[in-house]
Symmetry: C2
Subunit: 386 residues, 2 copies
């Protein structure tokens, strides 16, 4: 048996679990750093090991276009290609394709789209995506789904039925036994649609389930409320994956509602922007106040960046436009996220997760300035890369 989900302890809705995969186990709750193009930007496998990463994510859309899934298959698959010997998850490419907006055309069969690299025309169907993901060879593959705007009821109703038919078609052609195919619950912020989706997919008996279509336009309160109704409708004996969510405060709130793992570009992207995560919120390392600050970014952090460099030096590297700044910031932010997950797991084991949640949220303040920075960065990223 390649995959096994062990639920070790619950604390309220929060779950402490282990998911076994062909490339090792994943202690959950877990956070997966994102390696879009088979590389977590600026990091090497040894950095990810140092930070305690278990699962990492790669993007099917990007790798299909470049260097191509057949090339990666000929090179021995994604693990061997990128030299990551731990578990890997690939998304289905659906989210990227649907965010191409003007450059794609959707039908029952699948979706036709234009490459953001060279404008060439391609199509994704459930069958084609299964072929790609099986060629890439991650431990966890995702079904092709549609990700509608979460507040548009009519669109969500129409898309949901098609997404369900696509899930059936994916399941029908997926054959790799050393790869777990996960279903994706959709339905926007609408409780009845979410429950309907969870129940439909439960019938297909996937080895794990994701919650898709959140953190893409709704408020945080709407996201949390959606998790409140969706998680209980999902099987208790399978891992639950909240896709694309990764702000520390959202992770803590989602774990409290029963989510087991996460992925997000946030820690790596904001690091390249000069925003570093600490238990007291975000720091903008370009800020003049750090110009002569001899302290590390975070006093009790054990990452290489904090063990080695001062805020003053990091600020200099960011201001001077040095590539090293992006990397040293990324090393810290990824370490911060994985340390947060370790603390979450410990708190659940000790049966004190709710106290941890309240303490964490009280301390982790997000300034308006940092929020604006993030929004600008996300807008820019959406323009640049689908």
């Amino acid at each position: 048996m390649y995959f096994q989900f062990e639920l070790k302890k619950t604390d309220g809705q929060a779950r402490r679990s282990v998911f076994h995969t062909p490339h090792g186990l994943i202690e959950m709750p877990a956070f997966a750093p994102v390696g879009t193009q088979a590389n977590v930007k600026t990091l090497e496998p040894r950095d990810l090991h140092d930070a305690g990463a278990q699962l990492i994510l790669a993007n099917t859309y990007h790798l299909y276009l470049r260097p191509g899934h057949t090339l990666i298959e000929r090179m021995g698959g994604l693990h061997k290609f990128m030299r990551w010997d731990g578990p890997i998850l690939t998304d289905s490419g659906g989210y990227q394709v649907f965010s191409l907006a003007d450059s794609r055309k959707l039908g029952e069969e699948g979706v036709v789209f234009r490459s953001h690299i060279d404008g060439s025309t391609h199509h994704f169907t459930p069958e084609k995506v299964m072929k790609i993901e099986q060629a890439l060879g991650p431990d966890i593959a995702m079904v092709l789904d549609e990700c509608p705007p979460p507040l548009d009821r009519a669109y969500n109703e129409e898309a949901l039925a098609r997404t369900h038919r696509w899930a059936e078609r994916c399941k029908a052609v997926h054959t790799r036994r050393d790869q777990a195919l996960f279903g994706i619950v959709q339905g926007g912020v609408f409780a009845d649609l979410r429950v309907q989706s969870a129940e439909f997919l439960r019938g297909l008996d996937f080895p794990g389930y994701a919650i898709g279509g959140l953190a893409v336009g709704e408020t945080k309160e709407q996201m949390y409320a959606t998790l409140d109704v969706t998680c209980p409708a999902m099987p208790a004996d399978k891992p639950r994956y909240l896709m694309g969510v990764g702000a520390p405060e959202d992770i803590v709130e989602a774990v409290a509602r029963g989510v087991d793992f996460f992925d997000c570009v946030l820690p790596t992207r904001i690091a390249r922007n000069g925003q570093l995560l600490t238990p007291d919120g975000r720091m903008n390392m370009r800020n003049a106040q750090y110009a002569e600050d001899p302290r590390p970014v975070q006093a009790d952090c054990t990452c290489y960046t904090c063990r080695t460099f001062s805020r003053a030096y990091l600020r200099h590297l960011y201001k001077a436009g040095e590539i090293s700044a992006l990397r040293l910031g990324t090393i810290h932010n990824v370490h911060f996220m994985l340390e947060l997950m370790r603390q979450i797991r410990t708190a659940i084991e000790a049966g004190r997760f709710d106290a941890f949640r309240i303490d964490f949220l009280q301390r982790f303040r997000i300034t308006d300035q940092a929020k604006r920075h993030e929004q600008r960065a996300l807008r820019k990223a959406n323009r640049e890369q689908p």
Copy 2:
């Protein structure tokens, strides 16, 4: 005594020596990677240690402008600021200022120039540069000199006298006993001027001497011929530093003529361009021929990049525009240069340097394509950054 030069063995004109500094010894012949802005681009101190770096270089012009020498002094000096505990050398900023061309004005007193960052006006005099370098606190500091076009006889004659007066003024105000101030021999490609310069500076009794003004427009043959006459005119009991030279073939030829150490941005800059160094010459990693090549860049190389990744993966990272490509390429190229220096030292110790030189040059072919790439990169770099 803070500094000591031990000449351990000669083999023809080639010298195997050790230079002792307050931050440790430098086995020579040596190559210094360049950390213009107090950071060897994309690398960390641990990477430089792994590669076997001993001496690194930082640029006075850049650090004076940003973050400022007084800030670095307040942060405990350059070693502490950038967390490099080995020897550091700073140039005088002269070369950068003189390459500003239209944005600077020269007189007997010194040079007035406009910052490439914000256009603000600054001046460098010998006295000011000594103040800056003593504040930065490297182990080796360089006198302020003028670096004329190497083929312009009249300009070189006029500049040489001024450069000599500036060397005297630098020497007169330099007081840090834990910092070695080196003189710089100028004179373009003109044998009589070089000899005159070497003899004048010998009279000032510097603890070491550089050869400046080469590799900036003359042919390789002119450079080698200039070294043929300059090295013998320099003191035998002091280290000889050929500034800004770093193409592997030039290093081998310069060692054969009696040079002890080198610095150059070439290995780091061409790595960011996708050009990787091997004993068989340069490889352009963007080349389609490597798309499915499972081999490391260089089979017998022990750097992290070669121990870990295939050419296929590196090519993918370069083509996909991943920052990691620039870093993995830099790790390899810096390791290649430092390994070359180890081989040179071993060959001199064994009294077989000339055989090594002939073998190396025969194998290390530079294709015309690679040459064109390098020239384009250097032209671009000169436009972007003085």
